[in-house]
Protein backbone atom coordinates (compact mmCIF):
# COMPACT_ATOMS: atom_id res chain seq x y z
CA UNK A 1 0.00 0.00 0.00
CA UNK A 2 2.60 2.46 1.12
CA UNK A 3 4.79 1.64 -1.86
CA UNK A 4 2.02 2.14 -4.36
CA UNK A 5 1.36 5.59 -2.93
CA UNK A 6 5.02 6.51 -3.04
CA UNK A 7 5.18 5.33 -6.64
CA UNK A 8 2.16 7.31 -7.80
CA UNK A 9 2.86 10.62 -6.08
CA UNK A 10 6.16 11.59 -7.81
CA UNK A 11 4.66 10.79 -11.21
CA UNK A 12 1.45 12.75 -10.79
CA UNK A 13 0.57 16.43 -11.06
CA UNK A 14 1.91 18.55 -8.20
CA UNK A 15 -1.59 19.39 -7.00
CA UNK A 16 -2.74 15.77 -6.98
CA UNK A 17 -3.34 14.62 -3.43
CA UNK A 18 -4.27 11.17 -2.26
CA UNK A 19 -4.89 10.06 1.28
CA UNK A 20 -3.26 6.91 2.69
CA UNK A 21 -6.75 5.58 3.45
CA UNK A 22 -7.41 5.79 -0.26
CA UNK A 23 -4.30 3.72 -1.10
CA UNK A 24 -5.65 1.15 1.29
CA UNK A 25 -9.10 1.12 -0.28
CA UNK A 26 -7.74 0.56 -3.73
CA UNK A 27 -5.15 -2.09 -2.90
CA UNK A 28 -5.67 -4.39 0.07
CA UNK A 29 -9.03 -3.64 1.48
CA UNK A 30 -9.89 -6.85 3.23
CA UNK A 31 -9.57 -8.37 6.67
CA UNK A 32 -8.20 -11.83 7.22
CA UNK A 33 -10.69 -14.68 7.55
CA UNK A 34 -13.48 -12.76 5.87
CA UNK A 35 -15.47 -13.26 2.72
CA UNK A 36 -13.49 -10.49 1.07
CA UNK A 37 -10.18 -12.20 1.98
CA UNK A 38 -11.42 -15.33 0.23
CA UNK A 39 -12.33 -13.36 -2.86
CA UNK A 40 -8.83 -11.86 -2.87
CA UNK A 41 -7.28 -15.37 -2.68
CA UNK A 42 -5.72 -14.52 0.68
CA UNK A 43 -2.95 -16.92 1.79
CA UNK A 44 -2.52 -18.45 -1.66
CA UNK A 45 0.40 -16.28 -2.64
CA UNK A 46 -1.69 -14.33 -5.12
CA UNK A 47 -2.13 -10.61 -4.70
CA UNK A 48 -3.61 -8.75 -7.61
CA UNK A 49 -3.14 -5.47 -5.67
CA UNK A 50 -6.51 -4.31 -6.82
CA UNK A 51 -9.76 -4.02 -4.97
CA UNK A 52 -12.40 -6.62 -5.66
CA UNK A 53 -15.01 -4.70 -3.74
CA UNK A 54 -18.23 -4.08 -5.55
CA UNK A 55 -18.81 -0.64 -6.95
CA UNK A 56 -21.38 1.34 -4.95
CA UNK A 57 -24.91 0.36 -5.86
CA UNK A 58 -26.10 3.78 -6.85
CA UNK A 59 -26.34 3.33 -10.60
CA UNK A 60 -29.22 4.39 -12.81
CA UNK A 61 -31.97 1.82 -12.56
CA UNK A 62 -33.87 2.85 -15.63
CA UNK A 63 -32.60 3.67 -19.05
CA UNK A 64 -34.00 7.01 -20.18
CA UNK A 65 -33.85 7.63 -23.89
CA UNK A 66 -33.48 11.40 -23.53
CA UNK A 67 -30.59 11.41 -21.10
CA UNK A 68 -27.85 12.08 -23.60
CA UNK A 69 -29.77 14.84 -25.33
CA UNK A 70 -30.78 16.59 -22.11
CA UNK A 71 -27.27 16.39 -20.58
CA UNK A 72 -25.64 17.63 -23.76
CA UNK A 73 -28.11 20.50 -23.84
CA UNK A 74 -27.30 21.54 -20.28
CA UNK A 75 -23.57 21.24 -20.91
CA UNK A 76 -23.87 23.34 -24.04
CA UNK A 77 -25.79 26.01 -22.14
CA UNK A 78 -23.13 25.88 -19.42
CA UNK A 79 -20.31 26.33 -21.91
CA UNK A 80 -22.17 29.08 -23.72
CA UNK A 81 -22.70 30.98 -20.48
CA UNK A 82 -19.06 30.48 -19.47
CA UNK A 83 -18.02 32.06 -22.78
CA UNK A 84 -20.40 35.01 -22.19
CA UNK A 85 -19.94 35.32 -18.44
CA UNK A 86 -20.55 39.07 -18.52
CA UNK A 87 -24.14 38.77 -19.64
CA UNK A 88 -25.22 35.39 -18.28
CA UNK A 89 -26.13 34.45 -14.73
CA UNK A 90 -26.48 30.72 -14.15
CA UNK A 91 -28.19 29.40 -11.05
CA UNK A 92 -28.23 25.66 -10.54
CA UNK A 93 -30.72 24.85 -7.80
CA UNK A 94 -32.07 21.92 -5.92
CA UNK A 95 -33.83 21.31 -2.64
CA UNK A 96 -31.44 19.20 -0.63
CA UNK A 97 -33.10 16.44 1.28
CA UNK A 98 -34.77 17.45 4.51
CA UNK A 99 -33.05 17.70 7.90
CA UNK A 100 -35.44 16.01 10.33
CA UNK A 101 -35.47 17.20 13.94
CA UNK A 102 -34.38 15.03 16.91
CA UNK A 103 -32.89 12.22 14.83
CA UNK A 104 -29.57 11.94 13.02
CA UNK A 105 -29.82 14.31 10.02
CA UNK A 106 -27.76 12.10 7.74
CA UNK A 107 -28.69 8.47 7.99
CA UNK A 108 -26.16 5.90 6.99
CA UNK A 109 -27.08 2.65 5.32
CA UNK A 110 -25.76 -0.17 7.51
CA UNK A 111 -24.01 -3.38 6.50
CA UNK A 112 -23.36 -2.37 2.94
CA UNK A 113 -21.19 -5.44 2.47
CA UNK A 114 -24.22 -7.70 2.77
CA UNK A 115 -25.99 -8.66 -0.41
CA UNK A 116 -29.08 -6.59 -1.00
CA UNK A 117 -31.87 -7.08 -3.40
CA UNK A 118 -30.74 -4.31 -5.73
CA UNK A 119 -29.72 -0.70 -5.88
CA UNK A 120 -30.13 1.77 -3.01
CA UNK A 121 -32.96 4.10 -3.99
CA UNK A 122 -32.37 7.82 -3.64
CA UNK A 123 -35.29 8.76 -1.41
CA UNK A 124 -35.97 5.99 1.07
CA UNK A 125 -35.52 7.86 4.35
CA UNK A 126 -37.78 9.65 6.77
CA UNK A 127 -39.82 12.09 4.68
CA UNK A 128 -42.04 13.69 7.33
CA UNK A 129 -42.08 17.46 7.02
CA UNK A 130 -43.55 18.32 10.42
CA UNK A 131 -40.42 18.71 12.52
CA UNK A 132 -37.97 19.31 9.75
CA UNK A 133 -35.88 21.97 8.09
CA UNK A 134 -35.12 22.01 4.38
CA UNK A 135 -31.99 23.63 3.01
CA UNK A 136 -32.45 24.66 -0.63
CA UNK A 137 -29.10 24.76 -2.38
CA UNK A 138 -28.27 27.26 -5.12
CA UNK A 139 -25.00 27.16 -6.98
CA UNK A 140 -23.99 30.29 -8.85
CA UNK A 141 -22.15 28.57 -11.52
CA UNK A 142 -18.70 29.29 -12.87
CA UNK A 143 -16.68 27.07 -15.17
CA UNK A 144 -12.96 26.61 -14.73
CA UNK A 145 -11.34 25.41 -17.90
CA UNK A 146 -7.81 24.07 -17.86
CA UNK A 147 -5.73 22.67 -20.67
CA UNK A 148 -4.15 19.43 -19.44
CA UNK A 149 -1.89 18.49 -22.33
CA UNK A 150 0.60 19.22 -23.72
CA UNK A 151 1.27 21.56 -20.76
CA UNK A 152 -1.08 22.36 -17.85
CA UNK A 153 -2.19 25.95 -18.25
CA UNK A 154 -5.25 27.98 -17.35
CA UNK A 155 -5.22 30.09 -20.50
CA UNK A 156 -7.86 28.72 -22.77
CA UNK A 157 -9.29 30.35 -25.86
CA UNK A 158 -12.77 29.28 -26.81
CA UNK A 159 -13.53 27.91 -29.38
CA UNK A 160 -10.58 25.56 -29.29
CA UNK A 161 -8.36 25.90 -32.32
CA UNK A 162 -6.37 22.74 -31.85
CA UNK A 163 -7.92 19.34 -31.42
CA UNK A 164 -4.76 17.77 -30.00
CA UNK A 165 -5.16 19.42 -26.61
CA UNK A 166 -7.03 17.84 -23.73
CA UNK A 167 -9.20 20.22 -21.78
CA UNK A 168 -10.72 19.60 -18.40
CA UNK A 169 -13.69 21.68 -17.32
CA UNK A 170 -14.63 22.02 -13.66
CA UNK A 171 -18.14 23.19 -12.89
CA UNK A 172 -17.85 25.13 -9.67
CA UNK A 173 -19.00 28.44 -8.23
CA UNK A 174 -20.47 29.99 -5.12
CA UNK A 175 -22.87 27.82 -3.17
CA UNK A 176 -25.75 29.37 -1.27
CA UNK A 177 -28.15 27.54 1.00
CA UNK A 178 -31.54 28.91 1.96
CA UNK A 179 -33.14 27.36 5.01
CA UNK A 180 -36.91 26.79 5.13
CA UNK A 181 -39.38 25.24 7.52
CA UNK A 182 -41.34 23.02 5.12
CA UNK A 183 -44.30 22.53 7.42
CA UNK A 184 -45.10 26.25 7.27
CA UNK A 185 -43.48 27.11 3.94
CA UNK A 186 -44.25 24.31 1.48
CA UNK A 187 -42.28 24.22 -1.73
CA UNK A 188 -44.62 25.65 -4.35
CA UNK A 189 -44.00 27.24 -7.73
CA UNK A 190 -44.31 30.76 -6.35
CA UNK A 191 -42.11 29.89 -3.41
CA UNK A 192 -39.25 28.95 -5.78
CA UNK A 193 -40.02 31.95 -7.96
CA UNK A 194 -39.94 34.53 -5.15
CA UNK A 195 -36.76 33.20 -3.60
CA UNK A 196 -34.82 34.49 -6.60
CA UNK A 197 -35.66 38.06 -5.58
CA UNK A 198 -34.17 37.43 -2.15
CA UNK A 199 -30.93 36.28 -3.75
CA UNK A 200 -30.93 39.27 -6.10
CA UNK A 201 -30.65 41.76 -3.22
CA UNK A 202 -27.89 39.99 -1.24
CA UNK A 203 -24.81 42.22 -1.41
CA UNK A 204 -22.39 39.27 -1.42
CA UNK A 205 -24.06 37.79 -4.51
CA UNK A 206 -24.16 41.05 -6.40
CA UNK A 207 -21.19 40.12 -8.58
CA UNK A 208 -23.09 37.14 -10.02
CA UNK A 209 -25.98 39.31 -11.19
CA UNK A 210 -24.18 42.52 -12.20
CA UNK A 211 -22.68 42.90 -15.64
CA UNK A 212 -19.14 44.19 -14.97
CA UNK A 213 -19.09 46.15 -18.24
CA UNK A 214 -22.34 48.07 -17.96
CA UNK A 215 -22.94 47.88 -14.20
CA UNK A 216 -26.55 46.87 -14.86
CA UNK A 217 -28.37 43.61 -14.25
CA UNK A 218 -27.22 40.77 -16.49
CA UNK A 219 -29.84 40.19 -19.16
CA UNK A 220 -29.60 36.46 -19.52
CA UNK A 221 -30.76 34.17 -16.71
CA UNK A 222 -30.38 30.41 -16.74
CA UNK A 223 -31.83 28.09 -14.11
CA UNK A 224 -30.73 24.47 -14.00
CA UNK A 225 -33.30 22.57 -11.98
CA UNK A 226 -34.54 19.09 -11.21
CA UNK A 227 -37.83 17.79 -12.50
CA UNK A 228 -39.64 18.44 -9.23
CA UNK A 229 -43.28 19.52 -9.44
CA UNK A 230 -42.51 23.08 -8.33
CA UNK A 231 -39.86 23.77 -10.94
CA UNK A 232 -40.14 21.43 -13.92
CA UNK A 233 -39.75 23.42 -17.13
CA UNK A 234 -42.72 21.82 -18.88
CA UNK A 235 -45.22 22.93 -16.23
CA UNK A 236 -47.42 25.73 -17.54
CA UNK A 237 -47.40 27.44 -14.14
CA UNK A 238 -43.59 27.59 -14.22
CA UNK A 239 -43.71 28.91 -17.78
CA UNK A 240 -46.10 31.69 -16.72
CA UNK A 241 -43.65 32.62 -13.95
CA UNK A 242 -40.71 32.70 -16.35
CA UNK A 243 -42.55 34.94 -18.80
CA UNK A 244 -43.40 37.22 -15.90
CA UNK A 245 -39.81 37.24 -14.63
CA UNK A 246 -38.54 38.18 -18.08
CA UNK A 247 -40.81 41.25 -18.14
CA UNK A 248 -40.51 42.16 -14.46
CA UNK A 249 -36.71 42.26 -14.45
CA UNK A 250 -36.54 43.43 -18.06
CA UNK A 251 -34.38 40.53 -19.24
CA UNK A 252 -33.54 39.42 -22.76
CA UNK A 253 -33.74 35.71 -22.15
CA UNK A 254 -34.76 33.38 -19.34
CA UNK A 255 -33.99 29.68 -19.60
CA UNK A 256 -35.13 26.92 -17.29
CA UNK A 257 -33.60 23.59 -18.10
CA UNK A 258 -33.54 20.18 -16.43
CA UNK A 259 -32.05 16.75 -16.91
CA UNK A 260 -34.03 13.69 -17.93
CA UNK A 261 -35.91 11.66 -15.32
CA UNK A 262 -33.85 9.71 -12.74
CA UNK A 263 -30.73 11.68 -13.69
CA UNK A 264 -31.05 14.79 -11.57
CA UNK A 265 -27.80 13.64 -9.93
CA UNK A 266 -26.09 15.25 -12.92
CA UNK A 267 -27.23 18.66 -11.72
CA UNK A 268 -24.11 20.63 -10.79
CA UNK A 269 -25.51 21.78 -7.47
CA UNK A 270 -25.58 18.17 -6.28
CA UNK A 271 -21.81 18.42 -5.80
CA UNK A 272 -22.51 20.77 -2.90
CA UNK A 273 -24.67 18.28 -1.03
CA UNK A 274 -21.87 15.93 0.16
CA UNK A 275 -20.09 18.83 1.85
CA UNK A 276 -23.31 19.88 3.54
CA UNK A 277 -24.02 16.29 4.54
CA UNK A 278 -20.58 15.99 6.09
CA UNK A 279 -21.19 19.02 8.30
CA UNK A 280 -24.70 17.87 9.26
CA UNK A 281 -23.46 14.38 10.01
CA UNK A 282 -20.67 15.73 12.23
CA UNK A 283 -23.14 17.93 14.10
CA UNK A 284 -25.57 15.13 14.95
CA UNK A 285 -29.24 15.52 15.78
CA UNK A 286 -30.83 18.98 15.96
CA UNK A 287 -33.37 19.59 18.67
CA UNK A 288 -36.74 20.67 17.33
CA UNK A 289 -38.03 21.61 20.80
CA UNK A 290 -35.61 24.39 21.62
CA UNK A 291 -37.14 27.85 21.69
CA UNK A 292 -35.70 30.78 19.84
CA UNK A 293 -34.61 33.52 22.30
CA UNK A 294 -36.42 36.26 20.34
CA UNK A 295 -39.73 34.45 20.14
CA UNK A 296 -42.86 36.51 20.76
CA UNK A 297 -46.32 35.07 21.12
CA UNK A 298 -49.35 34.63 23.31
CA UNK A 299 -48.31 31.27 24.70
CA UNK A 300 -45.05 32.73 25.97
CA UNK A 301 -46.76 35.34 28.10
CA UNK A 302 -49.05 32.66 29.51
CA UNK A 303 -46.06 30.51 30.41
CA UNK A 304 -44.49 33.37 32.27
Amino acid sequence: MKRSGELVLPLSNPDFEILPSCWYNYTQNYKKNTMQAKRHHDGKGINAKISLHNAPRVGVQKFVINIHWSSANVNFIGDDCAANANTCAVDSKDAKSIVPGDIAPVQKPIKTWKQRSGILPDHDWEQGRTNAVTPVANLFFQSKTTVETPMPTEEVTIPLLDSSVAVSVTRTGQAVNLIYLPHYEPETVFHCFNELFLLLVQPSLDRFFRNPETGALKNNFVFIVDNGPSEQPSSSMVQMCLARLCKFLNLDRVTQVSFAEYNSKRNFVKRVHPQVNKALSAHGAFSSHAIHPDVKGAWRTRAQ
Binding site: I179, F193, S234, L251, Q256, V257, F259, A279
Partner: protein, 112 residues
Protein backbone atom coordinates in the same frame (compact mmCIF):
# COMPACT_ATOMS: atom_id res chain seq x y z
CA UNK B 1 -38.64 25.48 14.94
CA UNK B 2 -36.99 28.83 14.24
CA UNK B 3 -34.32 27.87 16.75
CA UNK B 4 -33.64 24.67 14.84
CA UNK B 5 -33.45 26.58 11.56
CA UNK B 6 -30.93 28.89 13.26
CA UNK B 7 -28.91 25.91 14.48
CA UNK B 8 -28.82 24.45 10.96
CA UNK B 9 -27.68 27.82 9.60
CA UNK B 10 -24.89 27.99 12.21
CA UNK B 11 -23.84 24.46 11.32
CA UNK B 12 -23.78 25.04 7.56
CA UNK B 13 -21.91 28.35 7.74
CA UNK B 14 -18.67 26.44 8.16
CA UNK B 15 -19.09 24.26 5.09
CA UNK B 16 -16.64 24.87 2.30
CA UNK B 17 -17.35 24.21 -1.36
CA UNK B 18 -14.78 24.82 -4.05
CA UNK B 19 -12.45 26.46 -1.51
CA UNK B 20 -15.05 29.03 -0.43
CA UNK B 21 -17.46 29.02 2.50
CA UNK B 22 -21.02 28.51 1.39
CA UNK B 23 -23.48 31.24 2.24
CA UNK B 24 -26.50 30.35 4.29
CA UNK B 25 -29.61 32.48 4.76
CA UNK B 26 -33.01 32.00 6.28
CA UNK B 27 -35.40 31.61 3.34
CA UNK B 28 -38.08 34.05 2.30
CA UNK B 29 -41.30 34.01 4.30
CA UNK B 30 -44.61 34.16 2.52
CA UNK B 31 -45.58 37.63 3.83
CA UNK B 32 -42.52 39.00 2.04
CA UNK B 33 -43.27 37.47 -1.35
CA UNK B 34 -43.45 39.98 -4.16
CA UNK B 35 -45.80 38.05 -6.40
CA UNK B 36 -48.30 35.87 -4.63
CA UNK B 37 -51.20 34.98 -6.92
CA UNK B 38 -50.77 31.28 -7.49
CA UNK B 39 -54.50 30.64 -7.13
CA UNK B 40 -55.29 33.23 -9.82
CA UNK B 41 -52.74 31.75 -12.22
CA UNK B 42 -54.27 28.32 -11.66
CA UNK B 43 -57.72 29.74 -12.37
CA UNK B 44 -56.47 31.49 -15.50
CA UNK B 45 -54.79 28.34 -16.82
CA UNK B 46 -57.97 26.32 -16.33
CA UNK B 47 -59.95 28.61 -18.67
CA UNK B 48 -60.47 27.86 -22.34
CA UNK B 49 -58.35 29.70 -24.90
CA UNK B 50 -61.19 32.13 -25.60
CA UNK B 51 -61.85 32.52 -21.88
CA UNK B 52 -58.20 33.34 -21.26
CA UNK B 53 -58.23 36.14 -23.81
CA UNK B 54 -61.52 37.52 -22.55
CA UNK B 55 -60.66 37.20 -18.84
CA UNK B 56 -58.63 40.44 -18.67
CA UNK B 57 -56.97 39.23 -15.47
CA UNK B 58 -53.95 41.13 -14.23
CA UNK B 59 -51.55 41.08 -11.30
CA UNK B 60 -49.35 43.60 -9.54
CA UNK B 61 -46.23 43.46 -7.44
CA UNK B 62 -46.91 43.62 -3.71
CA UNK B 63 -45.35 46.45 -1.73
CA UNK B 64 -43.04 44.50 0.56
CA UNK B 65 -39.67 45.55 1.98
CA UNK B 66 -38.08 43.18 -0.52
CA UNK B 67 -39.52 44.96 -3.56
CA UNK B 68 -38.22 48.23 -2.12
CA UNK B 69 -34.70 46.72 -1.93
CA UNK B 70 -35.07 45.40 -5.48
CA UNK B 71 -36.02 48.90 -6.57
CA UNK B 72 -33.03 50.41 -4.77
CA UNK B 73 -30.50 47.91 -6.12
CA UNK B 74 -31.72 47.19 -9.63
CA UNK B 75 -34.23 49.96 -10.35
CA UNK B 76 -37.19 47.60 -10.63
CA UNK B 77 -40.60 49.26 -11.04
CA UNK B 78 -42.33 49.41 -7.65
CA UNK B 79 -45.83 49.40 -9.10
CA UNK B 80 -45.27 46.74 -11.69
CA UNK B 81 -48.47 45.39 -13.19
CA UNK B 82 -48.83 42.69 -15.81
CA UNK B 83 -51.56 40.85 -17.66
CA UNK B 84 -51.95 37.12 -17.66
CA UNK B 85 -52.99 37.05 -21.29
CA UNK B 86 -49.90 38.91 -22.52
CA UNK B 87 -47.65 36.51 -20.54
CA UNK B 88 -49.57 33.62 -22.02
CA UNK B 89 -49.09 34.83 -25.60
CA UNK B 90 -45.33 34.98 -24.93
CA UNK B 91 -45.34 31.31 -23.98
CA UNK B 92 -47.48 30.32 -26.94
CA UNK B 93 -45.22 32.34 -29.25
CA UNK B 94 -48.15 33.57 -31.32
CA UNK B 95 -47.48 37.22 -30.73
CA UNK B 96 -45.91 37.99 -34.11
CA UNK B 97 -43.70 36.32 -36.66
CA UNK B 98 -40.69 36.09 -34.34
CA UNK B 99 -40.58 33.22 -31.91
CA UNK B 100 -40.82 34.39 -28.33
CA UNK B 101 -40.37 31.06 -26.59
CA UNK B 102 -39.10 27.54 -26.92
CA UNK B 103 -40.79 24.91 -24.79
CA UNK B 104 -40.15 21.19 -24.66
CA UNK B 105 -40.18 18.58 -21.96
CA UNK B 106 -36.87 19.56 -20.38
CA UNK B 107 -36.38 23.15 -21.49
CA UNK B 108 -38.29 26.41 -21.45
CA UNK B 109 -36.69 29.47 -22.97
CA UNK B 110 -38.42 32.84 -23.00
CA UNK B 111 -37.02 35.47 -25.38
CA UNK B 112 -37.87 39.10 -25.60
Amino acid sequence: MEKMAGDVIDCLKWVKFGGKFIEVYRGLKEDNWILNDEADVKKFLSLSEFGKEASGMSYRARRTPLVQSLHDVWGIDLDYTGEYWSDYTVIKGEDDEERSSWCDKYTTVIFR
